[in-house]
Structures are given as C-alpha cells and as structure tokens.
Symmetry: C2
Subunit: 194 residues, 2 copies
Amino acid sequence: MPHLLLKDLPRYECLLEAAKEFPELDPSAAEAFLHLLRTGDEAFGVIDRNFSRHGISQGRFSVLMLLWRCANPDHPLGGAGAADCPAPSTPAELAEAAGVTRATMTGLIDTLERDGFVKRLPDPDDRRMMSVRLTARGGKFLQQFLPGHFKAVGAIMRPLSESERKTLVRLLGKIQLRAAALNSAPGPAAAPAG
Amino acid sequence: MPHLLLKDLPRYECLLEAAKEFPELDPSAAEAFLHLLRTGDEAFGVIDRNFSRHGISQGRFSVLMLLWRCANPDHPLGGAGAADCPAPSTPAELAEAAGVTRATMTGLIDTLERDGFVKRLPDPDDRRMMSVRLTARGGKFLQQFLPGHFKAVGAIMRPLSESERKTLVRLLGKIQLRAAALNSAPGPAAAPAG
DNA sequence: GGCTGACGGTTAGGCTCCTAACGAAAAGCG
DNA sequence: CGCTTTTCGTTAGGAGCCTAACCGTCAGCC
C-alpha cells in the first residue's frame, strides 16, 4: 500500500490547541486534508487487496486498461473520452497517459510481457519505437477481473447517496484544481494567494 | 509519489456507456472513487514536494511527529488525542502508531539516526527493547519545518469554505468507515451488503 | 553527404515499502 | 530449574517508483 499515514488522526480539538502555537496551522484545513489522504489510502487499500488477489498492481492494471481501450476502440473505458482518444500504444505514450516515467513503464511492460498479458512489436517505420499490444490472454484477464473490481468500487461508495456523490466530486474537484496548480507552480513552500 | 493513476480520468458519459456492458459498474460510484484517489494523490504531491525540499519523506515525518509528541507531552499535535496518548517511543510502538511494519520502522529509524534527528537508547529493564528519542537537532528541524508545512496544507484547502470542509469531512468519514470495514473483512472481492 | 540535436527505449542505482525469517531476550508453565 | 511460546529488533530479498545516464535512431542544417 502506498503512503504512510498516522493510524490515529489528531482530533479537531488538538488541532485547535496546536494552532495557538503555530499560527500558520488552519485547523479545519488540516482536518480536511488528513481525512482526504486517509480516506484515499483506505479506499485504495480495498481495491489493492483485490489487485494482489489477482496478482497485479495498480500500475499494471492501468497499463492493461489503456491497452484494452486501444485494442477495442469501441469500448468507452480505459482512460480519457473516446472522442479525443489517441489510443496510446508505445511505451512513451503509455507512460504519459498513466502519469509515470518511461523508465517505470519499461519495467511494467517487462513484467506484463513476462506474464503473457502484453507483447512488444517493433515499429516498421521508426526503428526506435515499439508498439505494445494486449494479448488474448491479457484481454481475457481483464474480462474476468473487471466485474469484481467494479463491484468493489461500488461497495466502497455504497454509503453515499447519489447527491452526496455529486457533492463529493464537486468538492474534490476544487481541491484537485488547486493542488494541480500548486504542483505545477515552481515556487517554494509558500503558495500564491490566488 | 505514491500510487499510479491515469492522468486523464474517464468522463462520466464514458462510464455510463461502459456500464451497459458491465452491469457491475456503478457510474457515479466509479466517478467518485476515481476523483477521490486522484485528488488525494495530487494533494499529497503538494506536501511531498515540500517534504523532499527539506530532505525528508512522509514516513520520516510521521516518525518525527510521533516522537515530538513524546518529547513534549504538552504539545497536542503528533498523533492521537493527548488524553489517550501513550507516547510511543519503541520501534514497535512507533510502527503500530504509524501503520507500518516493524521492519519498515527499523529502516526509517536507521536513516533518521544517520541524519542525527533521533537516537536509539537501550532499555535498561528489557534488553530486547530500544527507546527512540528525538534529538535537539530533530526538534529544531520540526520547529523550522512545520510552519511551511501547515501553510502548504492551508493553501491546498483554501478553495473550500468552512462549511464545505465540514461537508467533505463528513462524506469522507462515511467512505473511510466503509473502506475500513471492507479492509478488515476477510471475504473475497464481493462485499457484504450491509 | 556529415554533424548536431532531439527523441525512443533501456539500463543502473537509489528510496520506500512489503513479507519472511532470524537470533536474543522475556514470560508462561511443567 | 528447563522447556516452549511470545515478543523485540533486525536482516534478507522482492516490488514499485524515481532520477540520471546510456545507446540507437530520426530530423534539421550546412
């Protein structure tokens, strides 16, 4: 599992107390932040257990989904919208789409190829390039794996009503936008006010 | 950075489309789930950049905070509430509090001790045990690091109003509870309906 | 044509996490 | 007291991610 997070989060009263000493500490922001990371971790843990039960990891799953979309352009799943779908198939494109480095993608493809889920094909036009394809075995694996995966995702979100889910997505979207801006900003610790 | 996540999330319409083929796929659940992981990742990325700027990691930070609470019991920060604070100081206790294995904690303490932030002391009563203490240098580091850290956390959450933060925490709490239950359940992929 | 620069995939080495197993020390029990 | 079981910290080995550097190939430019 990913990050490392304190098992017991500080209580809100403790944050209030600590804010007296650190004026930079915004108690409600810290509380929301800790809950966000914590919940994301816990939710990921559920599907990660499901992943490892089937002998794959999040990274490998992402690659398979991207390649699956490429193999079956009819399927709307697997990444961005089908309309602007450039069907990533080279390691560099896959790395870009999955948000990892090319080096990491090499390793992922290595193990996927070793397990027979994908295969590398040399590009006839550009001898630098490779084309990665999903094998029949890889496609079969996804067909068997996905129902359980979707079921698990549904189970996690079951406590939320439809309107609550909408609200959650809206609030998360605000944070995500903000965080993306902060992440791309080159500045030091302090953040621009805008 | 931790997980690996698709850079471009599938759009809601695509999920709707895919649900026709996979009846197990709950579109709104999948959308909320993807946003949750994605946002958590992005938010973590912001503070992780701050961490690496100061030469530490999330794991090392957690250990320092836990030890800091132990060194200054007056401080309300650093972990669970101050009331039920057993002041973790042995590697096993730290591992339990931080939610990692003892083996991982050994590695974290190794590097922290190498950098002079903590030191190991043998327990006079039980020769198996060690006591880990924050050094003056470690405390000084935290005093210098925390304001910027809190500032970054505040910056991430700035787009949300106080009431929105409350709502977010409430919704996340529901998911967290559910995910924790699913994680501790021994069953296979499918989840109990309750 | 030949040189230089950019790009594609890979390799090497590091960090953090994990599981499995170890040796030393304590605790339970005859 | 001896024996087993538990607990503590550590070590060994693996997976996934990263950055930095590499080599082969393509493209621009004289």
